[in-house]
C-alpha cells in the first residue's frame, strides 16, 4: 500500500530580548539557578505582570517578514495547569487574538520551491525547569520562567521529514537575520513540536495525528518524524489504529514513545488574563519597525555579487547564514580583497568550522584577524600558501596574523638579491638537472621552483623567484 504523510509544526522561538516578557528580570542563559528571577517570575502573592514591548516588536518583525497580518489589538490569555516549574499555576499566552495571523514561508528541496502557510504566531512566556539530577528531591530553577517565546504554528502542509527540516531551517534563517532570536538550538532558543499523521495516497480525510513534543535539533526533527511515520504505518498495516496522543522523542534510542497521560491530559481553561489590558500597536510603531528592517538573505545575495564582485556560489553560501554574513560584512570594513575573503570563508574557514562543528561566532576567529590576514596576502607580505598556516594558528590561538607572521618568520621573501643568491646556489648544486633542462627537458623548471621553496620554507615571492630562475636558466 502506498502512504502519504501530513505534518504540521509548532515552532517555539525564544526571543532575544534583554528582559523577560512580563518582568524586568534578565533572560541571560546559563546563570546559577534562580538568579534571573524577581518577584513577578516567582508568582508571589500580589505581583502583577507588565508587558515587554520589545517582545512585541520582535514578533511583529517576524510577522512582516513572512507577509502575515499583524493584529494591532492583541490579547493575553491564561492557560491553567499545575506544574512545579509553572509558578503561577497558569501560563500567560495568546489564544483568541495572537499578534500575528497567517503568513507564509518558502522552502527549497533539491531545487524545487514550496510555500508552507502559517496559521499564526503568538507570544507566550516560557516555564521554568525542573531539575532531578544531583539532589534528593526535585529542584525548580525559575531562570527561564517568563522568557518570551514566539510560537509559530504552520498549516499541516509539510509532507516529509526533509521538508520539515527545510522549513525549520528557513524559520531559523528568518529569525536570526531579523534579530528576533539568537536561534541557538543547543540552548533551546529554537525547538518544535511536530504533529504527524499518515493517510492513503489520494485520501482527502486526515488520519489520526500524534504530537511529538520538544524536538531541539534539525537532525532529531528528521529522525523523529521518520520514526513516527514508520511506526504509524506499522500500526495501521497490522490492522490497528493510531491513538491520538502526545509522544516524546528519545534521541538515544531513536524512537518516540507516549508521554504519561497525566503530563498532558489537561483542560487548560483558557480565559483572557484580567491583569493585562489588550495590547495596542499603532500604525506608527509598525512603520518604524518596517523602516528599521534589516537586509534579508536574498538582498544580501544580490548585493554581495554587485558590490563586492564575489562569485555567485560564495555569495549564496555567505548570505544564507546570519553569522557568516555578519562576519563577512565586518571583515569587508577593512579587508582589501573580497574574493580572497569569500574564498577563504567558504574554503578553509568552513572546513575548520565543520571539523569542530561550531558556529563562527563561537570560534576564536575575529573579523579583525581575518581581514588582517587577507591584507597580508594582498599586500604580498605572505603567500596564499602561508596564509593557510597563519589561519590555522590564529584559529587555535586567537593571535593577530601580523604577530604570528613576525614571530615565526613567515614573512614572504621579497629581496631579489637574496632570492638570486639562493637560486645561484641551487643551480650550482644541481649541474646534471641544469644540463638536462638546457637540453630540452622543460618540465625540470618545476623541480627548481620546488627546491627554491624548500630552501626558503615557502616564503620566496613566487613571481620574483620564477622570473629570476627563468633568467638564470635561459641565459
Amino acid at each position: 500500500m502506498s502512504w502519504e504523510w501530513v505534518i504540521g509544526l509548532e515552532a517555539h522561538v525564544q526571543l532575544s530580548t534583554e528582559t523577560k516578557l512580563f518582568s524586568r528580570a534578565s533572560t541571560s542563559f546559563g546563570q546559577e539557578p534562580n538568579t534571573n528571577v524577581n518577584l513577578v517570575d516567582c508568582g508571589l502573592p500580589g505581583v502583577l505582570p507588565t508587558v515587554n514591548k520589545n517582545a512585541f516588536y520582535k514578533a511583529i518583525r517576524f510577522g512582516l517578514a513572512v507577509d502575515a497580518e499583524i493584529n494591532q489589538t492583541s490579547l493575553f490569555d491564561r492557560k491553567n495547569y499545575f506544574y512545579p516549574d509553572l509558578p503561577k499555576g497558569y501560563q500567560i499566552t495568546q489564544m483568541e487574538l495572537p499578534i500575528v495571523s497567517g503568513g507564509k514561508v518558502e522552502i527549497e528541496i533539491e531545487g524545487a520551491k514550496k510555500i508552507i502557510n502559517l496559521t499564526r504566531a503568538h507570544l507566550e512566556e516560557d516555564a521554568g525547569k525542573s531539575i532531578h539530577e544531583g539532589m534528593a528531591g526535585t529542584g525548580v530553577d525559575l531562570n527561564r520562567a517568563g522568557t518570551p517565546l514566539l510560537e509559530i504554528v504552520s498549516e499541516p502542509e509539510i509532507s516529509s521529514a526533509k521538508e520539515a527540516v527545510a522549513y525549520m531551517k528557513a524559520l531559523h534563517q528568518i529569525v536570526t537575520f531579523l534579530d528576533v532570536s539568537d536561534g541557538n538550538m543547543s540552548q533551546g532558543s529554537l525547538r518544535c513540536d511536530a504533529n504527524v499523521s499518515i493517510r492513503k495516497k489520494g485520501d482527502k480525510k486526515l488520519g489520526t495525528r500524534t504530537e511529538i513534543k520538544n524536538i531541539n535539533s534539525f537532525r532529531f526533527i528528521e529522525k523523529a518524524i521518520n520514526y513516527e511515520i514508520e511506526r504509524q504505518i506499522d500500526v495501521i498495516e497490522s490492522g490497528e489504529s493510531v491513538t491520538q496522543e502526545t509522544r516524546l522523542y528519545d534521541s538515544i534510542k531513536n524512537e518516540t514513545r507516549p508521554m504519561r497521560s497525566k503530563e498532558f491530559a489537561n483542560d487548560y481553561r483558557y480565559f483572557p488574563d484580567p491583569d493585562l489590558l489588550p495590547v495596542m500597536i499603532s500604525d506608527e510603531e509598525i512603520e518604524e519597525i518596517k523602516a528599521t528592517f534589516p537586509e534579508m538573505p536574498k538582498d544580501k545575495f544580490i548585493r554581495y555579487q554587485s558590490k563586492f564582485k564575489i562569485p555567485e556560489n560564495d555569495a549564496q553560501i555567505i548570505s544564507s547564514s546570519k553569522n557568516l554574513a555578519t562576519f563577512f560584512e565586518e571583515c569587508m570594513e577593512n579587508a582589501k580583497d573580497a574574493k580572497l575573503l569569500s574564498n577563504l570563508m567558504i574554503g578553509d574557514i568552513s572546513s575548520l568550522l565543520n571539523k569542530e562543528n561550531i558556529e563562527i561566532t563561537d570560534s576564536k576567529l575575529s573579523t579583525k584577524n581575518v581581514s588582517e590576514l587577507i591584507n597580508l596576502v594582498t599586500e604580498g607580505v605572505i603567500s596564499g600558501k602561508i596564509a593557510k598556516t597563519v589561519l590555522e594558528e590564529t584559529w587555535d590561538s586567537g593571535l593577530s596574523p601580523i604577530e604570528i607572521v613576525e614571530s615565526s618568520g613567515l614573512k614572504q621573501l621579497d629581496d631579489d638579491d637574496e632570492i638570486e643568491r639562493i637560486i645561484d646556489q641551487i643551480i650550482s648544486e644541481h649541474p646534471d638537472q641544469v644540463t638536462a633542462y638546457k637540453g630540452g627537458k622543460d618540465k625540470l623548471f618545476g623541480f627548481f621552483v620546488g627546491q627554491i621553496m624548500k630552501a626558503t620554507q615557502g616564503k620566496a615571492n613566487p613571481a620574483s623567484a620564477n622570473k629570476i630562475l627563468k633568467d638564470k636558466l635561459d641565459n
Binding site: L48, P49, K262, F271
Partner: protein, 482 residues
Amino acid sequence: MQFQTIKEINDGLVSKKFSVEELIKDTFALINENKVLNCFISLNEENALARAKKIKVSKDSHLLSGVPIAQKDLFCTKGIKTTCGSKMLENFYPPYSSKVEEALDAAGSICIGKTNMDEFAMGSSNETSFFGNVHNPWKKGFVPGGSSGGAACSVAAGLVPAATGTDTGGSIRQPAALCGLTGIKPTYGRISRWGMIAFASSLDQAGPICRTAEDCSILLDAMTGYDSRDTTSLNLDPTNTYTDLKKPYENLRIGIVNEFNVDALSKESQTLFNESLKVFESLGASIHKISLPNINQSVPTYYVIAPAECSSNLSRYDGVKFGHRSLEAEDLESLYINSRSEGFGDEVKRRILIGTYVLSAGYYDAYYKKAQQVRRLIKNDFEEAFKEVDLIVSPTSPSEAFEFGTKGTQDPTELYLEDLFTISSNLAGLPALSMPHGFVNGLPVGIQLIGNYLEESMILNFANRFQQRTDFHNAKPTFEGF
C-alpha cells in the same frame, strides 16, 4: 484618644496636644484592651513605635503624618506577616510592600497592624477567616460584615481613625454600613493593585474605611495615582477629593433605581431610605427614578466572573514555593491535593470549584462568556443612566448586622445576596461609597452613593455635605454585650 478622626488627630499633633509616640502607645493600649473584638491578625507594634519616635508633625506635614492606620491583611507589607485570612498564608512574610503600603508610608502614616478578613476576601461576614470571627463593636456575637470586617471593626471601635480595605463585590461598603462607618471604593484602576493579594483581578479595588467622608477623602487622595507596575492602573494624577470638598456641586440630580426592589426591605429600612432622600433634597438635590434593566443579573454574573478569576489567581498556592505545604504528601499529586485541601477553607474551595467549572471546556461559552456579555450590558445601563443623573443612590445592604452563624450556613447563596446592591458597581468599575444613615434594631445601616467614572470628588463632596447636616457618623458603638 479613642474615636478620633484623622482631622482631630492631625489637629492634636500639630498643636502638640500629644506626641506621635504618645498617640501610638495609646493606640496599642486600646487595641490590647479590646482584644476580644479579634479585629487584628497581627500587630506591628515594635516597628510602629520606632517609626513614631522619628516622626515630627508640623502644620506643613501631610494630614496623615503620624496617623495610625490599620492595613487589611491582603496588602503585602515587607517583613510583616500577610495572611489574607488564610491558613494557606499563615506564615507568609512578603519580601516587598504593596503600592498602597508604599504610598501610606510616604505620606507619613503608621501601619499599626494587619486586620482580620474573610479568607482571600471571599465572604460578607468575616466568618470565613482562618483566624476566627470578628465581633461587631455595636453588638457582641454579631458580624461586622466582610470581607474587610476587621478593618471596619477597628475603626468602629475607635481603635484607629482609619483602615484600608478592598472591595471586590462590596467588601468595603457593606462592612462600613454594618459598623456605622464611611467607606469608598474608587473607580477601578484608581489605586494600584501592586502587592494587593488578588481575589478577582478585574473587580478588586482598594479604598479607605473611616468615620467620616472627609477622612475618606484624605486617605483616598494618598492611596490613588498611576503605577506602571499595574497595567490596569489609570494613567492619572492622584485624586484631589479633599480640596474638592470645598467645591460647590450644585443641583445634583440623584437617581433611584426602579429595579432595586426597595419595597422588599424592612419597613424601618424603607423609612430610613426615604428620610435620607429628604435630606438630599434639602441639600439642593433632585430625586429621579431611573431604570437599570439588567441590574438584577448582577449577582449571578458576579458569581461566575469572580470565581473564574479566583480559581486561576489561587492556582499559585500549590505548596511548592510558598504558603502551606502538606506534611502528608508522598508525590507531586498528593502534594497539590493535600496542601490545597488543608490550606484553604470551605468558601474558598467552593469558589475555586465554581470557577474551575465555569471555565471548563464545553461550559466556557455558556457561563464565563455569557457573564462577560451581561457585564457589558450592566455597564451600558449605567452609562445610559449617568446621562440623566449625577449620582445613583440605594441602600448599601439589604439588612443590618446579623448574628454569627445565622446566614449562609445552610445555603451559601443566602449570604451572596448581601452584595445585591454593591456588586454592580464592581462589575461596571464605578466609584461607590457607603455612609451611615440611621439604625435598625439598634444597629447601624448604610446608604450607598454610586457616581460616574472618576467622580470620586462629587461623591465625597455630597457625602460630606450630608454629614454636615446629619449626626449618624458621630454615633459611637454601644459595645452591647461586651
